[in-house]
Symmetry: C2
Subunit: 249 residues, 2 copies
Amino acid sequence: MDEFDVPESHPRYQSLLTRHRIEAGVERGITSRAGLVAQGRGEAFDYLLGEETLPSAADAARAAAAHFLLADHPVVSVNGNAAALVPDELVALADATGADLEVNLFHRTDERVAAIADVLREHGATDVKGETADARIPDLDHERGKVATDGIADADVVLVPLEDGDRAAALSELGKTEIVIDLNPLSRSAAVADVPIVDNIVRAVPNVTAHARTLTGTSEAELRAIVDAFDPDAARAAAESAIRDGQLD
Amino acid sequence: MDEFDVPESHPRYQSLLTRHRIEAGVERGITSRAGLVAQGRGEAFDYLLGEETLPSAADAARAAAAHFLLADHPVVSVNGNAAALVPDELVALADATGADLEVNLFHRTDERVAAIADVLREHGATDVKGETADARIPDLDHERGKVATDGIADADVVLVPLEDGDRAAALSELGKTEIVIDLNPLSRSAAVADVPIVDNIVRAVPNVTAHARTLTGTSEAELRAIVDAFDPDAARAAAESAIRDGQLD
């Protein structure tokens, strides 16, 4: 991604950088065709949200950080778009929270899993799960249900950025605390999440990490209070309102 | 595209068919990566619009048909996504209105132009322009400004589905009557259009054709009255309202 030379002062810098990273992800074989279409859907929702983090999304990022710090075994699920867009940021989140990184794909092939794991290792990850995916999520067909025994299968808190609705619902059914990053406040993934972060992944992941660093050392009672105060329905409603009343007036 | 075997009764039939056609377009080399991202943006807006033709979009399709019938030389600009999604429908529109079809690409390569022209001919087009693009739209850099001398350069009415904002603006500057199909009512393409049809191309193109057939034989005065009664700002505002108040309540 070294060839990206648009100055940071460019008004569309972030958007152009994001597009560039997705293109580079295609070159590396980690972003699929479905990933490109998903990127476009995300762009449209982000545009309608004003391309900024809503206060409700900042609250969600803080609640997510508290969940991570309370967890026995938090896992960050990584797909092709996440690895293409925020590899450094995912590694930093795992470092700040002690979470595992697991490559987990809707359109799973061993080649793509390996390529994504390589990208994460290049960006500093030391232990990437998911290349051996020997456990399964019930209710999903074979390829789509594969997860790591010592990763998502064992996790109590899972962050799934940019996840498919069926898989988000199946994880939720398993009783895991589920944190979803999704720009569509009306998506099924956002609806089933304990913590829906309705925000662009390029802003959301660093926000969760920053909150985790700030909250490190906070008492369990205080973390629990943050978690309990978060209302997922209110967060989704606030994002819907931003789409309704924000850019469109 | 023969292998698509989802029954029409499937609740997501149209959406799945559209996705299938875009995938097939990638296989044929006519849909670009940028085209896949654009498809995703369109999906998000269509979702927010309720995936149906708004009354204002139906009015816009009728005004577009009247413009076609009044024109001396109407031209339908065809890019990769348009050819992938509605090849039969574009040929039918050209037949119903006497319009020319011109392949015109933002990311132009001779190979993609030829592949798209082939698709249109396979679907019954007899005269496809754009393979020799020897005229230029001023204000656009070389590759992006190429148009056919006997096509868009000579046209008085141009339909540009799914067009980039810069190019839509440049065509408008040339004084041509511009009809745009774009699911984002706030896009620059929609803003500069004489007739913005804020609708999915798979619904919009057949709608324009149906109106053209109905209006064939109508007097010039009556066609002129239809054109004059159409208010592009009101049409865009109605689409914005649908996004605000429609699916999101």
